[in-house]
């Protein structure tokens, strides 16, 4: 039996006040979520407890107690204030997974800023789109990534400060400032920004089918949901050693790589390196990790390396395994039982929901391949795709719909209220995913309801890729779709028509692939290019992605009567 106890009992009698009371949220008028992730833990007498252990690729380690978290986040907050930054300024974190990335997240919140974490593998185009939309005022980066910012800075008039962490000896350019967390003055006290519960906290960008990526804006009160879901769904407690493999450039890496574990007073471990099954198993064994939150893509990569690789290590420390990002296939659940002696528990949520909304719980029977059941306090149903009326017949596929009102729900899309409003139909928030519900209340994921590509657990917008493709000198028309992939669920495939004078060959294919990887990100990089003479379009000239995607998935193409040509 896990922290949640009886799921049925909790679901029936739940109220978010339970979480607020445990956290003492709002005590003495304090609503700033950063306080609950470090200062409160110290005030409870646990300042000397290890908040996180960081391990670099070469095995170097750094340790930070909750007291260190409290002090160093104050360092960041004071530094930003002294630079002239104000509450609600958007402050971007664009760094690899170094300790400063995690601590600055709290520092920004402490001075009232809105944190805008971005995945450090983003290329300059992806970075520019998101910084421009947010009107970002300052950005923390490292020497490794600063050049990407230099290439776009002239086009970003709002970006007043570029702060280079651990800048090294090489000189910086004009208007860049070097910052060292450890060498910066430590303020004796820092008066936290008196955020109200609805004050903006985090801005996470996510992709849609059309238009630019959208900034899902969250508020300080989100911690009410992140705290209790971490406790009940991830089943963490202060005695655990917890590892979340997600990068804080994505929502999992902040909701459950920062806020969830630290508000619970848990010790987490962070590995700043690329994927290697041997290294991952060594890491688990060395640090005696008890709770592990990772993604199906990683699990399938581990599967590829076999159970023998697992058996070389003593992983008996693992107590609870959870997965997020894309549907966890039944084979992965079954393999995990064989390899680790316990299953991975699937969890479902998205950038907009801010916290887990449907999941499997310790103590509950797992049906391999199912997403599980709604979290207490979350009313989830499926609705008809056309009428948005609730579907009551078990096994019928519809759109996943949530009743608005849980604390971690996004409050708007930055600068895009119209898009935000379009997500609600007949009083329900429509997630954009299709699912059915069986006669025992388990949800079964079917797929996306739009053209967004879910690759390796990350959503990639086809429009952004198509626009970037058109910047390539050889391309006159482009379309991007998801194609099936055994490891990443989907990968990007691009269809391109060439300008006269360009020859479709392997050199050009590699050039296009690398072009997108550098402009946008490795996730958005097409893993296959198909050269076509022209793309199928509707009479109004819109590219028929549906047709291209259906061909990749071997699905029925459906009505093609509106096609102009084929």
């Amino acid at each position: 039996m896990g922290n949640i106890g009886s799921y049925e009992e909790k679901y029936k009698n739940f109220n978010w006040k339970i979480s607020e009371q445990e956290l003492e949220y709002g005590k003495d008028g304090m609503y700033n979520l950063a306080y609950y992730c470090c200062d409160r833990i110290c005030e409870k007498g646990n300042g000397e407890k290890l908040a996180f252990l960081w391990e670099g690729f070469k095995g170097e380690e750094k340790k930070f107690t909750y007291q260190d978290l409290s002090v160093y986040s104050n360092v960041f907050a004071k530094y930003l204030q002294d630079l002239g930054l104000k509450p609600e300024d958007r402050i971007c974190l664009f760094m690899e997974r170094i300790p400063e990335l995690f601590i600055s997240f709290l520092g920004v919140l402490k001075m009232g800023g809105i944190v805008q974490p971005l995945f450090s593998a983003f290329g300059e185009d992806a970075l520019f789109t998101r910084l421009e939309d947010a009107g970002t005022k300052a950005i923390f980066t490292t020497r490794k990534h600063v050049r990407k910012i230099r290439r776009i800075r002239d086009k970003l008039p709002d970006l007043a400060k570029v702060i280079v962490v651990n800048a090294g000896d090489k000189p910086l350019e004009k208007d860049e400032v070097a910052f060292s967390m450890e060498d910066a003055p430590k303020p004796e006290n820092f008066e936290l920004y008196k955020a109200n519960p609805e004050a903006p906290s985090v801005l996470h960008y996510t992709s849609g089918t059309t238009g630019k990526p959208k900034g899902a804006q969250h508020v300080h009160a989100s911690i009410i949901a992140q705290y209790i879901t971490a406790k009940w769904a991830l089943d963490i407690s202060p005695d655990d050693i917890y590892w979340c493999t997600a990068d804080p450039g994505w929502v999992t890496g902040t909701s459950y790589g920062i806020i969830g574990p630290w508000s619970n007073g848990t010790t987490q471990v962070i590995l700043d390196s690329g994927f290697s099954s041997a290294k991952w198993y060594q890491f688990i064994e060395k640090h005696k990790i008890t709770v592990w939150y990772t993604a199906p893509t990683a699990i399938r990569l581990l599967m590829k390396d076999g159970t023998d690789a697992v058996k070389k290590h003593d992983l008996s420390c693992l107590r609870h395994l959870i997965s997020v990002g894309e549907p966890l296939n039944a084979e992965a659940v079954i393999w995990s039982k064989e390899a680790f002696g316990k299953p991975f528990y699937d969890s479902y949520w998205q950038t907009e929901t801010g916290a887990i909304v449907i999941t499997n719980y310790p103590g509950m029977e797992i049906k391999p391949g199912s997403m599980g059941k709604p979290f207490p306090g979350i009313k989830a149903i499926v609705v008809d795709q056309k009428t948005f009326e609730p579907i009551t017949t078990p096994g019928t596929v519809g759109l996943i719909a949530l009743q608005p009102g849980w604390p971690a729900m996004f409050r708007t899309y930055w600068n895009n209220k119209e898009m935000y409003d379009s997500k609600f139909k007949k009083g329900w928030y429509i997630c954009g995913d299709r699912s059915s519900i069986d006669d025992e209340g388990y949800f079964w994921f079917v797929g996306r309801d739009d053209d967004v590509i879910n690759t390796g657990g990350h959503l990639v917008g086809p429009f952004e890729i198509e626009s970037a493709l058109l910047e390539h000198e050889a391309i006159v028309e482009s379309a991007a779709v998801g194609k099936p992939d055994p490891v990443n669920m989907e990968v990007v495939k691009a269809f391109v028509a060439l300008k006269p004078g360009f020859k479709p060959d392997a050199d050009l294919e590699l050039s296009i692939i690398n072009f997108i990887r550098k402009k946008l990100s490795p996730l958005a990089m097409p893993q296959e290019i198909e050269f076509v003479k022209s793309l199928p379009k509707t009479r109004s000239g819109k590219i028929m992605r549906r047709l291209l995607r259906a061909k990749e998935w071997g699905e029925e193409i459906g009505d093609t009567s509106t096609l102009e040509d084929d």
């Binding site: 490794k144 390196s273 994927f275 290697s276 099954s277 490795p522 990089m525």
Partner: protein
């Protein structure tokens, strides 16, 4: 010949996967995937480069993160295709 091939791959990795401000040096033993220099998605472009350069086809089951984790590992893989 094999030294030339190693040099070619190292140059490609440095040009395509390192930022100009990146202070990391790459040699034949430098971990590529596990260090994060080349992420598992970008491995596809490295594979494509090798296939194109040496006119070979590397099956997916051989394109593991381990096989691509250093230039020396890649050299071992290439031997299977009589490239050395």
């Amino acid at each position: 010949m094999s030294e030339e091939i190693k040099k070619l791959i190292i140059e490609y990795v440095e040009k395509e996967y390192l930022e100009e401000e990146d202070e990391q040096d790459v040699d034949e033993n430098t971990p590529l995937i596990s260090s994060g220099i080349v992420d598992s998605f970008s491995m596809v472009s490295l594979k494509m480069f090798l296939e194109k350069k040496f006119d070979i086809k590397i099956p997916d089951e051989k394109a593991t993160t381990e096989a691509f984790d250093s230039v020396n590992n890649i050299m071992e893989l290439l031997k299977e295709f009589n490239v050395s």
